[in-house]
């Protein structure tokens, strides 16, 4: 690492004490843990269902939500959850009309919804008086400005998301792996599609408040993609994705604390580095396995 290691002593106990001296840091670690576990778990289903673009679109839609809430003088969290929930509903209802045609139409629909959401966000920022200063934190997060009240809200949302996931997890997995067979077996796949998008919206809205609209992906996609490279077993992969997201977040926060570079950079770089390492490892193993004469 090329960091200055300003106050790092490599004595892990004292470093940990130093890390948790300030309340803002404790709250960042707490909030980071909550959103990482939620995003990692939901992200595993998202990657399985190949709904990455929808996930990104929901995270972008968080931005007009926050802008609208600021404009109306409402709590920003309300804007995040409201916009992402609404976006999930819109995507869920529009997506169904496109089923049967190929993915091209679906990607156009999602892209258009995202662009329209961004356009609205622009309008709201303009109406607010062109105060662009908060925009940067809307997009790139306020990892280190989290209040205890925010942590509380995030915790409740995470509990709700996991409760719903526990209820619909099995049929959702079935419907995600093979929608056709699931439908034939009487699983309400359309309802599950919509329910999943709503869960995704909630997870994204929670994560976006901490990481910013643009960095949600580091917790949503990359840990889940890494987990799916490592194991094909659903239970293990699901837990692994959540654990990886948590590890990446805490590691990123800790390194950023001792370095001059932003948290977002560390979190994305660590999770991407892991993903590349795992893919490379798998590639090497597979090519070696092929090289051995049968």
């Amino acid at each position: 690492m090329h960091t200055e290691l300003a106050a790092l002593t490599w004595d892990l106990v004292s470093d940990f004490e130093q890390l948790t001296t300030y309340p803002f840091m404790v709250q960042a670690l707490e909030a980071g843990a909550i959103v990482a576990l939620t995003a990692g778990a939901i992200g595993w289903f998202m990657v399985l269902r190949r709904q990455t673009f929808a996930g990104h679109t929901l995270s972008v839609i968080a931005f007009p939500g926050a802008a609208a809430a600021t404009l109306a003088g409402l709590p920003v969290a309300l804007g995040y959850f409201g916009a992402c929930g609404l976006g999930a509903l819109v995507l869920g209802l529009l997506g169904r009309g496109e089923r049967g045609s190929d993915s091209g139409g679906e990607s156009a629909t999602i892209g258009t919804v995202q662009a329209f959401g961004l356009g609205l966000g622009f309008l709201f920022v303009g109406l607010y008086g062109g105060q662009l200063l908060g925009l940067e934190s809307l997009l790139f997060g306020t990892f280190l400005g989290i209040t205890a009240g925010q942590v509380q809200t995030l915790l409740w949302v995470a509990v709700a998301v996991f409760a719903v996931l526990a209820l619909i997890g099995r049929p959702l997995l079935f419907a995600s792996v093979d929608a056709g067979v699931a439908r034939a077996a009487g699983v309400p796949t359309r309802l599950l599609d919509l329910a999943f998008l709503l869960l995704l919206g909630m997870a994204v809205a929670a994560t976006a408040q901490i990481t910013g609209a643009l960095l949600v992906f580091a917790l949503l996609v990359t840990p889940a993609a890494t987990a799916q490279q490592l194991t094909a077993r659903p239970g293990a992969g699901f837990l692994l994705a959540a654990a990886l997201a948590l590890a990446v977040t805490w590691l990123g926060l800790s390194i950023a604390y001792f370095s001059p570079y932003p948290v977002g950079f560390w979190v994305t770089s660590i999770s991407f580095g892991l993903y590349v390492a795992v893919r490379l490892g798998r590639h090497l193993r597979e090519s070696r396995a092929l090289g051995v004469p049968a």
């Binding site: 990455t52 673009f53 990104h56 999602i110 570079y261 977002g264 950079f265």
Partner: protein
């Protein structure tokens, strides 16, 4: 309206960027790669910030980063059709790098403004100089011509890659060339008119055209026409209505075109079902 120089510049750049976006957007939608186009616009942002932080010409960083990443992710996929999960992972990291360059840039320029960086991300069609507008138009025209030159084999390999390969078409090379063109358009459009307009003009006109006609050549023309029409109408509306940003107006109209196309399609389908 055209008496104002900034409106003339906006119309000049807007028209040709919209033309390029509409043409390339039709292929993007046909190939289901809107997400890749979206990701490239964010790569453009990181490239521009990296150049700004290093103190070199922003346009250089913009084009270099976007084209390199485009060719990279284009080459990754088996048929130059990369997986969404791969794009998502690369894209998350590229944005993380963007944050790093943003912090380096803001600290380096003695805290002058992070909003300059945000402007890079969003561009401003009404804030273009005459020279910028001419350059944007020129690049867009060149990209459109290059696309039209490879349109026939590209169309073939997009619609049916297996048969195209069987006939000896270089499907993979075409896919990479397409990505490189998309990168050039994304890079130019991002800094001239903003990532917002780029995404909207890639997805909505192409999506609408695909719903309205099954004939690919007619679809290509229709997509370009919808993109240019939305831009003109959007610029006009935002000129008439003070509080309406140009980007929002253009996207609003392109979205409306897409919605109308989708509704007309639903209508036809319903009638067919009743008739059958």
């Amino acid at each position: 309206m055209l008496a104002h120089e900034f409106m003339r510049n906006a119309f000049l750049a807007g028209t040709f960027v919209a033309l390029a976006c509409g043409l390339i957007g039709y292929f993007v939608v046909l190939r289901g790669q809107v997400f890749a186009g979206d990701a490239l616009s964010h790569v453009a942002f990181t490239g521009a910030l990296a150049a700004a932080a290093a103190g070199i010409d922003i346009r250089l960083g913009l084009f270099a980063a976007t084209v390199v990443v485009a060719v990279g992710i284009g080459g990754l996929g088996e048929r130059a059709r990369p997986d969404d999960v791969v794009i998502g992972s690369v894209f998350a990291w590229v944005l993380g790098l963007g944050v790093l360059f943003l912090s380096l840039f803001v600290n380096g320029s003695s805290g002058s403004d992070g909003t300059a960086a945000v402007r890079v991300l969003f561009g401003s069609i009404l804030g273009l100089s005459a020279a910028d507008a001419r350059l944007a138009a020129l690049i867009a025209v060149l990209a459109s011509l290059a696309l039209l030159a490879i349109a026939r084999p590209l169309l073939f390999s997009s619609l049916d890659p297996e048969v195209a390969r069987g006939l000896g078409l270089p499907v993979r090379a075409l896919g990479i060339a397409f990505f490189a063109l998309l990168a050039v358009v994304a890079a130019e459009a991002t800094q001239a008119v903003g990532a917002l307009l780029l995404l909207g003009l890639l997805a909505a006109p192409g999506g609408a055209a695909r719903l309205l006609t099954d004939n690919p050549w007619r679809g290509l023309a229709l997509s370009a026409a919808i993109a240019v029409g939305s831009t003109w109408l959007g610029l006009f509306l935002s000129y008439e209505i003070d509080s309406l940003p140009a980007g929002t107006a253009v996207i609003g109209i392109a979205t409306a075109a897409f919605a109308i196309a989708a509704l007309s399609r639903v209508d036809v389908r319903a009638r067919l079902t009743i008739g059958g």
